[in-house]
Symmetry: C2
Subunit: 224 residues, 2 copies
């Protein structure tokens, strides 16, 4: 089941498989991390809500993995280069408590959705359709807004701590993303739209993601 | 959204909610345990397979929870009496390695399916339809058979260890089930089909589950 249509620009092919491998591995790990965080919740309803986010991530993983196979690549091979940076991100951002888990779920969901939106424009048609399908299935973390706002209302000092936490999450995500862009030439070329000023293009993409992140922080009631 | 039809025998109502609460909590915990076990796998494909089983369990949880709400009960309340026995079962059956995780997933999936099959006969029509739907979605653990047979072929001593492990899993499950039957009168009455010889009826149900378990162990290549 090789793809009937791929991008006209053959160099982009490796970039597409790289991108799908990165997104697939990130989704799989998000599933495990969210499930683990959810199991720490005390209330059964909280457990179930965060478990639901985990399950959505697993659905994304399955779709992305299937597309890698359709493109004639091995999903395990495609994911392997991204195991280390994705694992490093999570190792550096282990939530200390339930509220930090919630904020991490919300921030992660939001950054992922923004990233999907940006990369969709750069992809061949069948891959773009897949990415838009994954994107349509994001936004499950909206319930977090209410919980975080309630926690801040009950104890205003929580807001400052969570604002710092959210900033750290974004910083760690961008730091790992920079590392990936530097190490994976085909992916970097894809993300830069084959531009010669690759690093500048990627920097602009990160700036866009950062702006959107700031808007979400405002929605959470977290001053930057 | 109260149920339009409930069983004609009003005493069974508490039993049905008990049963749904037990199944819902067992599914939710199975989700977390399978996700945790899956995260310990080394190969990404193994991780993904067990994570898929976890996700199926979460789907069951969602269906069961919805039915509890339809019956006008609070899912959290309905699950609460079963938190301790279900948690105790898992605390006593923490897998020591990947193969034990696989066998636990397979045994658990099988016992659950047998149990759903038996209780379906005892339920009011809408609840029976739900239980049959959950049942139709079980059997995802069939991939385990191949893995376990391969492991035993490579190292025959593994077979004896896993056979003991499977027997312990069944024993712990029946022991917690006995405890639940003794403590939850409405549930015990439902399971015994309102028979006066309740404990005898429930004993016969357990014997049926044990027979089916033995057949599955033979399929796994585990001598009893």
């Amino acid at each position: 089941m090789y793809a009937a249509r791929v991008s006209g620009r053959e160099p982009a092919r490796g970039g597409v498989v790289d991108l799908l491998g990165l997104l697939a591995y990130a989704s799989l790990v998000a599933f495990f991390r969210l499930a683990e965080d959810a199991s720490l919740a005390i209330a059964l309803a909280d457990k179930a809500d965060l478990a639901g986010l985990a399950v959505a991530q697993f659905g994304h993983f399955q779709m992305l993995r299937e597309r890698i196979t359709q493109l004639g690549s091995d999903p395990e091979e495609a994911m392997r280069p991204f195991v280390e940076p994705v694992d490093a991100f999570h190792a550096r951002t282990a939530p200390a408590d339930w509220l930090e888990s919630l904020v991490k779920a919300y921030v992660g969901d939001g950054i992922a959705a923004d990233f999907y939106r940006v990369v969709a424009q750069l992809l061949d048609e069948p891959t773009r359709a897949l990415v838009l399908e994954v994107l349509a299935d994001s936004g499950h973390a909206e319930f977090v807004i209410k919980r975080v706002r309630e926690a801040i209302a009950a104890e205003p000092a929580v807001g400052g701590r969570l604002a710092l936490w959210a900033r750290r999450l974004l910083g760690e995500a961008l730091s790992q993303a920079q590392r990936v862009a530097a190490e994976r030439e085909p992916l970097a070329r894809l993300l830069a739209g084959d531009s010669t000023g690759q690093l500048g293009e990627i920097g602009r993409m990160f700036a866009t993601l950062t702006d959107a992140h700031s808007q979400r922080m405002a929605a959470l009631g977290l001053a930057e």
